[in-house]
């Protein structure tokens, strides 16, 4: 265990991130106080990008776990494995981060089952410790350790919501799609298209976001805009690129597709 190098989890290249308001200061303050953070916002609006950006800025390693339904408590904490000599304990990502001092980022936490989520409780309050019951060890969190979860309120359904007892252990930060101008400049930087095209792509994204609740669960994300921009920068026709990157992924509804192709025609001349 002693040869474990937590620094492999550091982010080498600075991830591109456009500041929207004072979120960098807020996050830095939370980190310094070692307060757990919950970032909320729709798909693809830059939550993960922001956390990576902050890890790089603070020069701390970050361990990301993408949560899914099948994830169990042992997947986070660690487990005994049988080997030829008997058994061997292997730390899970949460234990690794707590032991060695990293930011542990649980992405899309609502996807995990609620019984799994409770294991993080002891790490998120004043105790800052993690009980490895199977191993009989109490891990005291490293002073650099911080827990961050991301959470997409768009999914809110009876089945997939965080318990109050979990929610109330975190400080919250709201994220949304950047305003049109900023979002366009992000698209320009990420994909290399010109501002004119980027502005129109953003307009199209806004059109899809207006349809949320009318047949669409979520509008086109900034990430998809970047895909579309990248395709256009590579020489793909504007309308084809929009169809491929913005419309096709978000809906199977033939009527919405007709509408959106009308919208594409209206926005691009």
């Amino acid at each position: 265990m002693s040869d474990f190098d937590i620094n492999q989890f550091k982010i080498k290249l600075e991830p591109l991130y456009e500041t929207q308001s004072n979120e960098v200061e807020l996050y830095t303050a939370a980190y310094n106080a070692k307060l757990p953070v919950m970032v909320k916002g729709p798909t693809g609006c830059g939550k993960s990008r922001f956390i990576e950006h902050m890890a790089h800025k603070l020069d701390k390693p970050i361990i990301t776990v993408s949560c899914n339904e099948d994830i169990t408590a042992s997947d986070l904490i660690g487990r005994f494995l049988l080997d030829t000599n008997g058994t061997r304990w292997v730390d899970g990502p949460l234990t690794l981060a707590a032991r060695h001092g990293a930011i542990c980022y649980l992405d899309e936490i609502v996807e995990a089952r609620q019984d799994t989520m409770v294991v993080i409780h002891s790490l998120t309050d004043h105790r800052r410790e993690l009980m490895l019951d199977k191993k009989g060890e109490l891990v005291k969190a490293h002073s650099d350790f911080q827990l961050v979860i991301s959470y997409n309120p768009g999914y809110q359904s009876l089945m997939k919501d965080l318990k109050q007892s979990t929610k109330q252990r975190f400080t919250g930060m709201d994220f949304d799609y950047a305003n049109a101008e900023l979002e366009a400049s992000i698209v320009v930087k990420e994909s290399g298209v010109d501002t004119n095209i980027a502005t129109k792509l953003v307009k199209l994204a806004h059109a899809t976001r207006n349809l949320v609740g009318h047949g669409l669960d979520e509008g086109a994300s900034t990430r998809l805009l970047n895909y579309a921009g990248t395709l256009i920068a590579l020489g793909v026709g504007v309308k084809d690129a929009c169809n491929m990157a913005l419309i096709c992924p978000i809906t199977d509804d033939a009527e919405i597709r007709t509408t959106m192709s009308g919208a594409i025609d209206a926005i691009f001349d």
């Binding site: 099948d70 169990t72 080997d83 059109a207 007709t258 509408t259 209206a266 926005i267 691009f268 001349d269």
Partner: protein, 757 residues
């Protein structure tokens, strides 16, 4: 060569200065038309023209035929070519004049004015076949083999030929004719009514056969379009332009409702859906950028040009946001030739307007007229300003009119061709009339007044449903009008009392419900902790370990979970007059018993958490089938719902088919595996405008079949002791008859539970 023919024709005209015919009236018409005929017709056709006119004057039907013939045939002969006039003469004589339909010859000849306009030059035979078909089907004999009775509808159909040919393909006309023949062949008065396009079903069948794209087929797309681009949520009220030919209708947006044509054909390469988008976009940008200005001191002509600048202004503003709209709009604005209109003989108002319209929007417009160019510059200068207003359009419009005004503007003959921009509205929204004028034509007014809605509730337009006619084995289109309303409400405590009264039953039901709740168990594999060891997975993990794999799967258990119910239920209540009858045993009316039963059922279903709706229906002829929402699928069993249920009233009749179709429409939208439609009724389907009871029974059966085809499970609970006579014909085996009506409150929830077990 040409001059040779010309001279020979001249000589022929000279030679026949008088037609070989003794009617003076015919001679006069001949003299008036021969010059035109000579110009238009070939030598061959001209001979046919002469022969035809002479022949028709001699068949003993007076002078009218020859007169009509002489007037119209020059155009017909020119259009269809040699031989066509002869063909028409033969047809007239053989197929019409020698049958009992003599009287139709003149209208037949006159119909060619429209036929020439709306067919291509290879379609003469098709038209003649059509008329022959109609004749052969509608002329009949009572005794013997020879036709003795006139076709009651030939003249009617001929007088409507312009509408038919304009709106329908030949195929569509045959469909329309066949429908009429099927229903009214033996009923001369109604046949005539049908073929003169004056009865409602004739119009409905006609509408259906029209060419083009119906708005209702793209309504959702258009709705999403306005929401996506402008976040607006206007409703629609489509109108049919065809029968209101005299008043030319334009789209408009008023009171948050968009009025638009119910059908569009592709135009200038723009498909119908895109045309609707263009129209909605134009209306919405008006709504966005236009402010009302006072119209009282502005003359109609001044208004006309102001509107053009205003249209251009709002479109310009919209194009700044959505540049693609420009191409869409441009392709729908016609281009006319600059010198096409002669302002000595015609009013060129519209011609000037359409050129200006084009020039304001299109940089590459072809026009050289200096005034137009000046005003395009002025418009550009205006639009480059930071902010523009509707009043700016007014000053441009006034100025333009003054510059271009001409004495001929008031002439009765107006250059009209190709000057209409179809997607633009009538701009009523930009004018404020301080003095009351009766100018606005509100074509929807009659709909509002037609129903006696005492409460004065805002009327939701009715849904029309077809009705099955078993005798003719076909649907009568758009036959029943279903109006939906939220049921009125009163004090909810009545329902609470009912539940209290049946508290023992409620307790019994609770036991059944508890048993029912756990449904099939579902196996969950790959569990770290679970009820049993999953041997397959466990073995696989052991093998992994033996192989030295560092990460064997530890999820070797299997667990069980209760499967959730996925049921949607619609309870459809018959609210017809007969429910007011008192049941002797209990002293309550059937309606009260139904209320109790439904309360208990609703309570039970709420416990189970199923998706559940309650609706009631009754009918007062096919024109007014009422469908009351009592509980929506998304509503809980709360006081609002109870209050509506407490206020149930029973009146009118039972047109069940239409109600089932409407209920099925909503049930179909629910996303669940099982869809159950419970119909609670106390008698057979009936209505006061239907005398053959079998019609509505068969129609209901058809409606049930339609629902079944959509994957629903209709089930009837009948309180009619005599139901056995007809109910199996409607619902097959899916019904129960409750003989002891007073036991309904106990029976209904139990029945439901057993159905969904």
């Amino acid at each position: 060569m040409q001059s040779l023919i010309k001279s020979s024709l001249d000589s022929m005209a000279d030679q026949h200065q008088s037609l070989n015919c003794s009617f003076n009236t015919v001679q006069r018409v001949f003299a008036a038309n021969i010059e035109q005929a000579t110009q238009k017709l070939s030598e061959q056709s001209l001979i046919e023209y002469y022969k035809g006119a002479e022949f028709l004057a001699k068949i003993g039907q007076g002078d009218a035929l020859s007169i009509a013939f002489l007037k119209i045939m020059p155009w017909v002969g020119e259009f269809y070519g040699d031989g066509s006039i002869q063909k028409i003469v033969d047809f007239t004589y053989q197929k019409i004049s020698r049958t009992p339909n003599k009287g139709a010859v003149e209208p037949f000849l006159n119909s060619f004015i429209d036929v020439v306009e709306h067919t291509n030059n290879a379609q003469l035979d098709e038209y003649l076949d059509l008329i022959e078909y109609h004749l052969s089907k509608t002329t009949f004999s009572v005794h013997g083999i020879h036709d003795t009775h006139t076709s009651p509808s030939l003249i009617a159909i001929l007088t409507n030929m312009h509408l038919l040919l304009e709106q329908l393909e030949f195929e569509g006309i045959y469909e329309w004719i066949n429908y009429g023949l099927k229903y009214f062949q033996d009923h001369p008065e109604r046949q005539e009514e049908y073929f003169s396009l004056s009865s409602a079903d004739s119009k409905a069948v006609f509408q259906r056969q029209r060419k083009g794209l119906l708005f209702s087929d793209v309504e959702r797309e258009i709705n999403l379009f306005q929401r996506a681009l402008w976040k607006t949520d206007f409703m629609y009220a489509p109108y049919s332009p065809n029968f209101e030919k005299l008043e030319h209708l334009h789209p408009y947006l008023e009171d948050s409702v968009i009025r638009l044509p119910d059908i569009y054909e592709p135009l200038n390469g723009i498909d119908a859906c895109k045309r609707y988008m263009a129209l909605v976009a134009h209306l919405i940008v008006h709504h966005q950028f236009t402010t009302k200005i006072v119209a009282d001191n502005v003359s109609p002509q001044q208004r006309f040009f102001t509107e053009i600048f205003e249209d251009a202004r709002v479109e310009y503003l919209a194009i700044q946001i959505y540049p693609g709209l420009k191409n869409l709009w441009l392709s729908l604005i016609p281009i006319v030739d600059e010198f096409d209109c002669d302002d000595k003989h015609q009013s060129c108002l519209r011609h000037r307007a359409i050129m200006l319209t084009r020039a304001l929007l299109d940089k590459n417009h072809p026009y050289k007229n200096q005034i137009i160019l000046d005003y395009v510059e002025k418009f550009k200068a205006l639009m480059s300003a930071e902010e523009t207003r509707t009043l700016d359009s007014l000053s441009l419009g006034l100025g333009y009119l003054i510059k271009t005004r001409s004495a001929s503007d008031t002439l009765a003959s107006i250059y009209f061709e190709n000057t209409e921009v179809t997607y633009r509205d009538d701009n009523r929204s930009m004018w404020l009339f301080i003095e009351e004028f009766d100018e606005e034509d509100n074509i929807f007014e009659h709909q509002k007044r037609s129903e006696d809605d005492e409460e004065g509730i805002e009327v939701i337009p009715p849904h029309y449903y077809d009705e099955w006619d078993y005798a003719y084995e076909s649907y009568k289109p758009d036959w029943a009008a279903v109006y939906e309303r939220l049921h009125s409400h009163t004090n909810a405590s009545k329902i609470e009392q009912i539940l209290d009264k049946h508290s023992t039953l409620v307790k019994q039901l609770k036991k059944v419900l508890d048993l029912l709740k756990p449904q099939n168990k579902k196996r969950l594999r790959y569990q770290e902790e679970g009820a049993e060891l999953d041997l397959d997975i466990a073995l696989r993990s052991v093998i992994d370990i033996k192989n030295g794999s560092p990460q064997p799967d530890t999820r070797i258990n299997v667990d069980f979970e209760h499967d959730s119910r996925s049921v949607s239920v619609l309870l459809l209540l018959d609210l017809s007059e007969s429910l007011n009858e008192v049941v002797e045993q209990s002293g309550q009316t059937i309606l009260e018993l139904s209320q109790e039963a439904v309360s208990l059922l609703a309570w039970a279903v709420e416990q189970l958490g199923d998706n559940f709706a309650i609706a009631g229906f009754n009918s007062d002829t096919r024109k007014k089938v009422m469908y009351y929402h009592i509980k929506g699928y998304n509503e809980h069993w709360d006081d609002a719902v109870k209050a509506r249920l407490a206020d149930l009233k029973a009146e009118f009749s039972t047109r069940m088919g239409a109600a089932i179709r409407h209920g099925a429409h909503y049930l179909d939208l629910q996303q669940s595996d099982k869809k159950l439609m419970l119909i609670l009724t106390d008698g057979e389907p009936a209505d006061i405008d239907v005398h053959d009871s079998k019609i509505l029974i068969q129609d209901t059966h058809k409606a049930v079949q339609e629902a079944q085809q959509k994957g629903m499970y209709p089930y009837c609970i009948s309180l009619d002791k005599k139901a056995d006579e007809y109910i199996a014909d409607i619902f097959g085996s899916h019904y129960s008859v409750i003989d002891r009506i007073e036991s309904l409150p106990q029976e209904l929830p139990k029945l439901f539970l057993s159905l969904t077990k």
